[in-house]
Symmetry: D2
Subunit: 347 residues, 4 copies
């Protein structure tokens, strides 16, 4: 089986990471790489690491660009740009996985409060939130996937299995996240300038990050009640990796082992979620370059709170790896196809 | 005025940082640098950065080593080693500032639960906890200072001014701290090996770090009731810097501006605490190499919680700078003497 | 075809990197992982990144350990330890790829001058220097491979194609190399302590590094005359990657294009050497995690010297990837089997 | 004595580093900070690290801006911008230290070949090259200083003392330099984007960097003959620091000790040059934040070449610290005034 895949927005970090994964995928042929900035230029001139591997010339997408024969289109564009182009792709009968925020929300009001007026509201109902550990059945049948944000992925994977447990106080959840800098994308800015990031550590958008309503909506729909997480993102002086520390109030006593067992059952057949044994907490280094989410758990000594720590590679499970996982499900492939990169001992 | 100062344990990171600060202090003369590992070797051979600045030979402290004429002794030793040597120094009439954990606790039971049997319990009552913004009056009269831990410093400075405010829910405090690697000291180990730290991020000692009872005891004594903070330390891939994100439950509504004003009044005449204006959160880079603690504040939109972010340089305000500040107070000098290093624009 | 492979010294960085590559190799089954330090412990407890991927328990190798059925043994041990164990393995009929320096030299005197008395001199004549781009024919027939050092690999690949060209002044070659810290291995020491490496840059073992005689011997044998390279290694604050800048005297004028063409012909069918077009110089980031060696070239404006810049991942092409490439050749597999990891856009 | 100082271009990295040093200088009062980008904004809003230290509002320099009463003007502008403004400042009778390349060349042809048409050629003859260890006498009398580039500083300080020694082959000098990223300035660009620098290492502008003719001219004038250095700059994944490895051909045998002694005599009374004892090579970390240049020396075993390694902080001795040192000399202060920052043990 060969899936013909196009990547629109191929030269940003999420797009280029898609190209990395798709070019090594045993069932994928890349047919088109679109880039507004690098139209006409070989992909390997933009990313010399890819010399001899992906020398395909990027194209500047226009109305005349034919996507005929393409089985799936990945849109790795800034939000707003995505909703401008996706409806046309869907009309042409393409399957689409969108890595922007444009199709992650079911309720357009949530989107519009944090982003802007939505231009393709009618697609929101049919779009599926692409968190495969939870929504695989819907993903399999979907034409349009709203690929989750990196922060929501790192928050939801540890939380969702517990969202219906009576011991959890859903009104008392805090997520303290730390992200590598690649999450900010490839456009140069002072905030991502080497000397401004290196050897520094900071919080940003405290209680006002746009991934907050995304995680709130998914969690609320899942638990069937309104939930709001207190969320603080931080920027860490490293390229890849995201670690989220969750503080969850407890309504009744529970042990670390209980929670591990609960998570273990929930993710029993999910190849990309690894639950740490009691006493071990994960490190972003353990998942770098891979599609894994590792989760560690500790109930506090006073049984007051449950602390969970999750790690992902923000560009893989937090973006492009998850998109490939979604594609695999949509095309009936094993979930792990093209995603079996072995992690580094050190990186 | 010239203060004659000795540093015992001069070649660890806290000791060497003391040497940096004392060698540039206008009122200090370093009379003795003791090091078990480097006895007989010039300090500048251990730290070539100091060539021509501190070429004094380290000494291997023995019972015969005379400290006569020394005005103050800094002990920058591992815990247990400190309590073995400090009583003798006090007996000889020296003022002592101890950077270990051995003299930070008032209640020996707290110490013994987390460390080991205390060998100098009688000194605990007279020892003063060296957080100068709070205890300057006691420090001035003290002979023995238990210099605070880095994590407690970064947690207590934002919290203490609010500890008696009615809007604060003292039963609902979480501290999520991120530390540079220098806090782990200079002894090589796998956990501080370059390749194991670089490009990684991890939590450690979740809900079981020994600085947790230290911050609990100080806060409880100050608020005059039992308080327990949920505390998670993390290791960040950088050398210096500590950022703590505090989540404090609110009993009644309060605005960001209220809290800023409250902190601003409390620290009005304290040269080393800087409160950020609303909308700004601090970065560890802003305090690197300095004795500052910068604090930013944000009340969540639902007035559910207060989020505070503090940053310090773990080796300066979190250790050696604070020790020098304590010394200044003990000797009647301006608090800032020798601590006026101007921060770097980038570092 | 399934090759049964054992790794002795599996928990050092080179060993663990071998495990990474072998566990993803389509024709390899790992049958034994030996570790003196972690005998009895699952490999994935030593490297949690490998949980669920390589959970095989490490073994403490003893005289009774049977290697029956093993097709190839990789020895990733410190020098001296290797020459103690390799002769026995060869006697038992195993193919061996040794990653230490013990079997890299043809002339035992060269080895003994820089290392120590050689205990298996008779094997040196049959051992083949495992630089596959040059010695593939010999490697194919060999039982014992001395896998090259990382610095020699980065120096020899750009130099050897030119060693017989008349325009090159073989008496006037300088190699200035910069290495990531993983080359120093996994044993903690002050020199590889995070805070001693991070944000620092230094030269070390100037004109006295043990890889210097190795590159000299190979180059001299190849060019059939005595050659000595002036060599300075440096330590860079990063985990992986090695960049070597070569300064080669010119006896007669030559253009950048001439040299590129010369290298291009030489490596025409070599999948792991990529020659940069004129005007581009390589970056270690482009080869991270891969077995590539990228080479860039510039003849100085006065035609005085040729400058060449090569980059490798010191743990892959500089160690374990090259070992797997050698194995592939020894077993008649495509050179690239198990080595087709796609490089990261950023890492 | 109080020197009233203005900094034009105060918010770039060199300018901000000047502000750091001048604000801590015991004999300086900063009277004006000019910034095109941040006119009207307090300096400490641009650099929050400086809150409470330098809160002076930046000004957008215009023709009406009065510099009356200013004793010295530092221009930290891009080249070309400097030569547009400096003649007017000189006309108004100000002393000027220019940190751009505009006044570093004696021969306008050299400048114009690598930069552009020079608009203030008549000032080149009176401008003094601000390398105080060599030109202090001229600096003392000068009105206009062309402050040296960072690379030339790191190359010239080890080389100049030997330039008239008969054992040195002046036709055979190579400088291989490695720089931290702050040298590229504060303007965001892809090449200085965090993820493009971190964990990478590259050469750039091989044999075509504009600092090459600068070092050539100074060395040629000093030795009174034409000299051309082969020069390759590299970018290292760190913020501050520059290490240059020099390879100097030898015409006659010389020992490491001879060279050390030669350098030691030359710099006997120069407080900022430290010569390492035989067997030690410097590390950029040893000079971070300081105005030191440390130099290590090794003659190769075959007495074929002399290898010298120098380190500086590119923003201090390579830019702003050197500028302050020049100011001190111009005003008859001790060279070290305001430059006595004690280096960090680790940073």
């Amino acid at each position: 089986m060969v899936i013909k895949a196009a990547v629109i927005g191929a030269t940003g970090y999420a797009g280029a990471e898609l190209v990395r994964l798709l070019s090594g995928h045993p069932h994928v042929e890349i047919t088109l790489l679109a880039s507004r900035q690098y139209g006409g230029i070989p992909f390997s001139d933009v990313y010399p690491a890819m010399s001899g591997i992906v020398d395909l010339r990027c194209r500047n997408l226009s109305n005349e660009t034919s996507l005929e024969g393409t089985d799936i289109v990945f849109t790795a564009l800034p939000h707003k740009a995505s909703m401008g182009i996706v409806p046309g792709l869907i009309d042409q009968g393409h399957k689409v996985i969108d890595l922007s925020a444009d199709f992650r929300f079911q309720d357009p009001a949530n989107y519009e409060k944090w982003y802007e007026v939505h231009q393709a509201k009618d697609l929101l109902q049919s779009a599926v939130y692409g968190l495969p550990e939870i929504y695989a059945a819907d993903i399999q049948k979907a034409s349009l996937i709203g690929n989750p944000g990196c922060y929501p992925t790192s928050v939801l994977l540890p939380l969702l299995p517990l969202a219906k447990e009576s011991f959890v106080d859903l009104d008392n959840i805090i997520a303290d996240s730390k992200s590598g800098t690649s999450g900010a994308g490839r456009s140069p800015s002072l905030v991502t300038h080497f000397c401004e990031v290196n050897e520094g550590f900071m919080a940003y958008k405290v209680d006002e990050h746009r991934h907050n309503p995304e995680m709130d909506e998914v969690l609320s729909l899942f638990a069937n009640r309104d939930i709001h997480i207190t969320f603080t993102p931080h920027l860490a002086p490293m390229t890849r990796g995201m670690l989220t520390t969750l503080y969850v109030g407890l309504k009744s006593p529970v042990t670390t082992e209980n929670v591990i067992s609960c998570l273990g059952s929930f993710y029993a057949n999910k190849p990309f979620v690894r639950i740490c044994p009691a006493g071990r907490v994960p490190n972003t280094m353990h998942v770098k370059g891979t599609n894994y989410c590792d989760i560690g758990v500790k109930v506090t000594q006073q049984s007051q709170r449950l602390i969970m720590v999750s790690v992902i590679d923000n560009l893989v499970k937090g973006a492009s790896g998850q998109a490939v996982q979604n594609m695999n499900i949509m095309f009936g492939l094993p979930e792990t196809a093209g995603l079996t990169q072995v992690p580094f001992p050190v990186c």
